[in-house]
């Protein structure tokens, strides 16, 4: 079930947004809000409707039905005003390959009407921050994929957006570029930038997103903070135990009250349960009574990846 969460100072409001392509419903009646200063993650498998949602919100395609506002401006009726507040970094870097890095940057700033002095100073600052300053005069086609993606981020940020849409921004990038992009986005968010990010990278989403929505087959399956989403998937919680020397037999561990299933390998035992605290206590008491000594005992929440698989139908029944 998806909770209707009302956030403080919503920057993006989406209400019943739907997009059909012929008979295919790519996005099906989705509703959510994104608050000022949030990093909002939009997770989903391929074809779930993530990019279609971003394209509707950024004015590239029109919704079939429903409504959305950005900074209070309706994306259909006040499309240009709503687009004045946003910038987009698409998955595929679509810079002008025959223009220099600097020209690409200035072109975007000029399209947004950024005054000359401001666009020059912020352009230089951004190129410096993203490690592109020495490539200022290089043609964009001479840049690697990672550098092109950094240029896309520069070109988006030089327009001074209030909301930044990132569509799979680190997909297929080298570690340095991906890390640098995450660092810059996190720093800008700390300064008040609202970020809407679609990603497949669960670690990235878990690390930087204040809330995430999981979309599957065009519908939103869950929205919450990564921590609360993890705690909601109760079957994914487990107790992890490692013993000194010999381990107790698996049947003894499986028979501990509250254990749903047991996984073991290389001396590590995972006891899945909805009550990890109680099971950990019982495990410690019972194994000690049997003469086994514990080396490690941890209670663990499911990863965001487990949550994702759970909600997208590949992680067992809900």
């Amino acid at each position: 079930m998806v909770d209707e969460v009302t956030v403080n100072e919503p920057v993006i409001r989406v209400n019943g947004l739907t997009r059909k392509f012929g008979d295919l419903t790519a996005v099906d009646d989705i509703s959510f809000q994104v608050g000022r200063g949030e990093i909002f993650g939009f997770l989903g498998p391929n074809g779930a409707g993530k990019t279609t949602t971003v394209r509707m919100l950024t004015g590239v395609i029109e919704p079939t039905s429903g409504s959305a506002t950005i900074q209070g401006h309706d994306i259909r009726k006040e499309s240009i005003l709503s687009r004045e507040h946003i910038a987009v970094v698409p998955e595929q870097a679509n810079v002008y390959l025959d223009l220099s890095v600097w020209r690409n940057l200035m072109l975007m700033a000029e399209l947004y009407g950024i005054p000359r002095n401001r666009r020059i100073s912020s352009g230089e600052r951004l190129l410096e921050a993203l490690g592109l300053f020495t490539r200022k005069e290089s043609k964009a086609r001479e840049l690697s994929k990672g550098l092109k993606q950094r240029l896309m981020l520069c070109a988006a940020l030089v327009t001074e957006p209030e909301v930044l849409f990132l569509d799979e921004p680190t997909s297929g990038l080298d570690v340095q570029s991906a890390r640098l992009i995450r660092k810059i986005v996190t720093e800008l968010n700390a300064d008040g930038l609202t970020v809407f990010i679609t990603t497949h990278n669960m670690i990235e989403a878990g690390d930087i997103c204040s809330r995430v929505a999981i979309i599957n087959k065009g519908r939103i399956a869950a929205i919450d903070t990564p921590g609360r989403l993890r705690s909601m998937v109760r079957q994914g919680r487990y107790v992890e135990a490692v013993f000194v020397g010999q381990s107790p037999p698996s049947q003894k561990l499986e028979s501990i009250p509250g254990v749903i299933r047991l996984e073991s390998g290389q001396g590590v035992f995972r006891l899945y349960t909805e009550a990890p605290g109680r099971v950990a206590t019982l495990l410690a008491v019972q194994t000690a009574a049997m003469g086994f000594e514990l080396e490690q005992l941890n209670t663990c929440e499911p990863s965001l990846e487990d949550v994702f698989l759970y909600y997208t139908g590949d992680g067992g029944s809900r």
Binding site: I80, H85, I86, P90, N94
Partner: protein
């Protein structure tokens, strides 16, 4: 983000059109092949039709000017959107706070500036190397400017179909532009063409620009000058409105 207060939307959009013009010039119009094509192709095309016919060198010049204008102002416009769709830059462009109308106005302006500028070359060549006698400079300038605007609008209209391959649009572009060229009185004055051609000629915007340019060189215009200007402005308005409509319809096709 710039606050909208204190700025008129019209001014912001007009400025954006100029930025699009600048982008098009840097990316597409200043390429050597484009410049060479714009100058050489009309000259050779016209000479091919002139050879073997008894036309004084000075009589060639108005046709050369009109042809250069036709081929340059409408040459790149049809290709810009397909190129941008193919390079995936179109999606980024339409997510900026710039209307489709302003983007297309920028495309029209690019063709207008390029066509007008290149057309000066055959005018100068004609003055220097032929006996062509320019009798009405303001009329020539008016003919070139209004013609360039109309032909650039035609170019942008031809870019409307949602093709990501420029070759498809090139085919369509030539299918439209070449027949219009032949019925417009460039090679044979309209009054000397067969009756049916006389009926078809008014459908080509080139007929009106050509008539004005010929009149500037002393010929009696086939259409009154006021009608030429009016028709070119009507063609421009209708074609620009149609291209805005089609581009909005096909906005997200092929992304």
């Amino acid at each position: 983000m710039i606050s909208t207060s204190g700025h008129s939307v019209w001014r912001r959009q007009a400025h954006a059109s100029l930025v699009i013009l600048k982008k098009n010039v840097l990316l597409y119009y200043l390429k050597p092949p484009v410049l060479i094509f714009g100058v050489v192709f009309p000259v050779f095309f016209f000479l091919a039709f002139k050879m073997g016919r008894n036309v004084p060198p000075g009589g060639v010049v108005p046709g050369m000017v009109a042809m250069a204008l036709w081929f340059t102002a409408s040459a790149i416009g049809p290709m810009v959107t397909p190129w941008e769709r193919g390079a995936k830059t179109w999606e980024r462009l339409i997510s900026t706070p710039v209307s489709i109308r302003s983007i297309l106005a920028g495309d029209v302006l690019s063709g207008f500036v390029f066509g007008s500028a290149v057309s000066v070359i055959p005018v100068i060549l004609g003055q220097l190397f032929t006996d062509a006698h320019l009798v009405n400079l303001p009329l020539l300038v008016t003919g070139i400017l209004t013609g360039a605007l109309t032909f650039a609008s035609l170019g942008v209209l031809l870019s409307s179909p949602p093709a990501s391959s420029p070759s498809n649009i090139m085919l369509l572009s030539n299918l439209v532009r070449l027949p219009l060229l032949f019925v417009s009185g460039i090679f044979v004055p309209i009054e000397q063409m067969p009756a049916w051609a006389g009926w078809v000629a008014p459908l080509s915007p080139l007929s009106y620009a050509s008539a004005m340019i010929r009149a500037a060189y002393g010929s009696v215009p086939y259409f009154p000058v006021w009608l030429c200007i009016l028709m070119l402005l009507i063609f421009t308005s209708v074609m620009f409105a149609a291209s805005c409509r089609f581009h909005k319809m096909y906005r997200a096709k092929g992304l």
